[in-house]
Amino acid sequence: MRSGAPQGASEHLLLGPFYRLIGMAFAIEFFVRRILQGAVIVFLVSFVIFALLRVVSGDPVRIILGPMASSAAIEETAEQLGLRDPIPIQYGRFVAGVVQGDFGHSFIRGVQGGSTGGSQDSEGLDTDNRAPVFDLIMTALPYTAILAGGGVFLALLIALPIGIFAGRNSGRWPDRFALYVSSLFISLPNIWIGVVLIFLFSTKAGWLPAIGYEGLAYAILPAIVIAIEISPVLIRAISVSVSDNLRAPYFALGLVRGLSSNYMFRAHVLRNSAVPLMNLFGAQVIGMLLGGLFVVEYIFSYPGIGLLTINAIFQRDFPIVQAISILAAVALVLINMFVDFFSSLIDRRLKF
């Protein structure tokens, strides 16, 4: 084999040492841009929710003070809470608080975290004696994290084997099996399957606890419902991307180049299939998961963020709803950012 001075090498001699840094510039630019974009999105989302709550819903003061409160007391309390100011001013105040890390205090919940009923005494409403929203969220968040983590884990536990098996046997029975399973799972409304699971496994069989949270076992049934909800999308995505990658020219050529089928599958097919799977997480699964958590926590009276939110909306507890929508938006923005970043780490063709 001969060797010769490659032409054009000199042009890149200078660049050579910096070559490794290419990813760094990309990463810095990526994160700067995405965090800025994300901040704008979160800002807008919070404003939309903030305005929506004030425009659409009734007067939270009626809930705070109870139905029989005099209109004088209601007005006094509303003034005190700033609820009679124009929405932009209220929003400005809220943002100023959030920027300083203060998400405000619940309208309804006492400082110890428990709900309090309407007190018609305008002097009785002392917002400092109401629970800080941040604390409420921090109390509920671990439960939701357990449930979400468990749900995603179970979903992957279902979807990975079925999806990969189907993808490897495209057009044959495992493929059809995957189609049946995903078509069935996606057709089971979470509200219904949740109740049916409670009926079968908790009420009838008595195998698993269902309502509330006293220990990890309480997360099992709700996590199954979450898994049933999101696994069909995963199954389809996995089977399609696995079979697409098996059909991709590089796979057959890899075999012809003398590499083993197992190696090609492990090192390349799985790697390439991870990208659409991750994108699916960012685009769809997180949204489904979030929606699913709200409903499932509601069905199972599971004391997480979802139940906190649903109760807060029903009770017009604006500060909680606002904070949680910011939290949800931040979570979505961050998850999408990392999904895109890791996707582009895997597949350098992707530019976001």
Partner: protein, 603 residues
């Protein structure tokens, strides 16, 4: 069979298991390859040559299956061995390179590490480090510039030619006895394809590898092969030594193939009949630059200089050609000419009026006078409209005709381009590529334009269809005295149809000459390089050994200072690095080239 043959195929038949009644895909194919020999396999698409090539590496995918035959490799019939045994040969004793280099490797893993992985798999004694050094060394040997940097690049960062080089490395690192090269030059530009062929020839000498070279181009096969197999519809119709076969073809099909290889220098250059000296289209110092994100600099931008100061006139009634390889800026030029984009500087004048000064209404009227026909027969016409509606669409847009008059005009133009009138209510789905291009042509002609731009319009068609359409254009040109601008990479085609030709390199016109002068004299080394690389059967005035280039065009982001061609030019002088040369007339007919070396000093 002689025992010294590396490969001997006898009576190989392959059929489609799903279509048991159809003719076999391969029928009774027999040939052999001696060590260090090159066997060329030639045939049109559908002849079964790719199926054959793949069968040689045990790559027969369902529903195809081998129905009979033997495949001896070094005396062992691999078809009788367990599949594992055959598969164990692959990538070690028998290597394969395919037609589509850019999708041959996992796009998400650096090229170098994929090749290293293959190397350590087939040669377990090698350490990763040794393998890496070896691969970088080999990269250099196949003239991949900055080999150690390119080692870490991803497949998409390689051009087709560079990737094909990398794959040749991948195929040859194990010193195989047999290399199957399946259409490896097909997607490449002529100069790059010629480089690859040259490389392969050199390597073959060094590695003592037998090569089965599959190609659709007879010119290419002849260039490299010692022995040629001609295939048609799954059968070998003729085989023999290359020179013998060319000189004395036996089979009609072989004769036809030979006949179809275009003559360039043997053909009469084209002359339009009514050329008005007054230019209908003037391009004045037109430039276009695109901004891209720079991955190396935070929030940095890169300027891609697609077209750089192009000027030329097109005279009414003439056929003007623009040629150049991929990335030379010809498609950007076509977008500027058709006012789909506007130039950053300079202007395009139509009958003396600048396109950029036109109001949108004027521009709409102007569109009737200037039409563009695109390359891809499958994507350039909408699949959900009937052929009649497609052709009628321009008339409707410009509100030119209604009711029966509209359909009369549509039918007239269909007849003119040779479309059967029965097709008027059909969707394009069943049409062949040639018919589809006729629909495109009809859609342009129905407006009765004065200028027609053909952007690679014929390049997707086969030789026969191309000839027919060229004849049609010649006819239209004569009857309607339309001005045509052919934008193409196909030298043989512009030779046949164009009066004058501009050669583009890196966004600039480097030579502007009439047909005859360009092909016989060529004042620019790049033009000569292009001409030297065309795969033809005839004698070329410009020798490949003298003119063929190394490397590939530089990135249009980092265009070298001075003459942009100097980094590849075998004849560059000091002056070339100083400033950019302008077009200088080098002969009496007015042909001009942008080169400091000068026509006289070129070999």
């Amino acid at each position: 069979m002689t025992t010294r043959d590396v490969l001997q195929v006898s009576g190989l038949s392959i059929r489609n298991a799903n279509l048991p009644k159809a003719a076999p895909v391969l029928q009774d194919v027999s040939f052999s390859a001696a060590p260090k020999s090159v066997v060329g396999i030639i045939g049109e698409s559908g002849a079964g040559k790719t199926v054959l090539a793949k069968a040689l590496v045990n790559w027969v995918a369902s529903p195809l299956e081998i129905s009979s035959g033997q495949l001896f490799f070094e005396g062992v019939d691999l078809l009788k061995q367990p599949a594992e045994r055959f598969n164990a040969m692959r990538g070690r004793e028998i290597s394969y390179i395919g037609a589509d280099p850019t999708s041959a490797l996992d796009p998400t893993v650096p090229v170098g590490s994929q090749i290293v992985k293959k190397l350590v798999t087939v040669k377990p004694t090698l350490s990763k480090r040794e393998a890496k050094e070896f691969v970088i060394e080999t990269f250099q040997a196949v003239r991949i510039p900055s080999a150690s940097k390119r080692f870490n690049d991803y497949p998409f960062q390689f051009s087709g030619g560079m990737m094909q080089r990398a794959l040749i490395v991948d195929a040859l690192v194990t010193n195989p006895k047999l290399l199957i090269a399946d259409n490896i030059t097909q997607p490449l530009d002529v100069t790059v394809a010629a480089q690859i062929l040259r490389l392969l020839r050199q390597l073959q000498q060094d590695f003592e590898t037998a090569i089965v070279f599959v190609t659709a181009s007879l010119g290419t096969a002849v260039d490299i092969a010692d022995k040629v197999l001609v295939m048609k519809e799954g059968r070998v119709v003729e085989s023999g030594g290359t020179s013998g076969l060319l000189a004395n073809p036996q089979d009609d099909y072989t004769k036809q193939l030979i006949h179809q290889v275009p003559d360039i220098w043997g053909a009469e250059p084209f002359h339009s009949e009514q050329i008005d000296e007054h230019p209908i289209l003037s391009i004045r110092d037109v430039s276009k630059t695109y901004q891209l994100a720079d991955p190396d600099v935070v929030f940095g931008k890169q300027a891609v200089q697609a077209v750089r100061g192009v000027s030329f006139d097109v005279r009414r009634g003439e056929n003007f050609g623009v040629i150049g390889e991929s990335g030379c800026g010809k498609s950007t030029l076509s977008r500027l000419l058709s006012a789909l984009e506007s130039p950053d500087t300079g202007e395009v004048l139509f009958n003396g009026t600048s396109l950029s000064s036109m109001s949108s209404k004027q521009l709409l009227n102007w569109r009737q006078k200037m039409q563009l026909i695109l390359q891809d027969p499958y994507n350039s016409i909408p699949s959900y409209m009937t052929i009649g509606d497609i052709i009628a669409e321009p008339l409707r847009i410009h509100n030119l005709e209604k009711g029966n008059a509209l359909w009369t005009r549509v039918k007239a133009v269909m007849t003119e381009v040779g479309l059967n009138l029965d097709l008027i209510h059909d969707l394009p789905a069943g049409l062949s590529a040639g018919q589809r291009q006729r629909v495109s042509i009809a859609r342009a002609l129905v407006l009765e334009p004065e200028v027609l731009i053909l952007d690679e319009t014929l390049s997707a068609l086969d030789q026969v269809e191309q000839s027919k359409l060229l004849a049609l254009f010649a006819d239209i040109n004569r009857r309607r005295s339309i001005t045509c601008i052919y934008i193409s990479h196909d030298l043989a085609m512009v030779r046949r149809i164009c009066d004058r030709i501009g050669v583009m390199y890196l966004g600039k016109v480097v030579e502007l000459a009439d047909n005859e002068s360009l092909f016989s004299k060529a004042g620019h080394p790049y033009t000569r390089a292009l001409l030297s690389a065309v795969p033809v059967l005839e004698e070329k005035p410009f020798e490949e050994s003298v003119y063929l280039l190394d490397g590939e065009p530089p990135d249009p982001i980092n265009i070298p200072a001075g003459c942009s061609f100097r980094t590849r030019c075998p004849f560059a002088i000091d002056q070339c690095a100083q400033e950019e040369p302008n077009l200088e007339v080098y002969e009496e007919k007015g042909s001009a080239a942008a080169c400091y070396v000068g026509y006289a000093k070129l070999p």
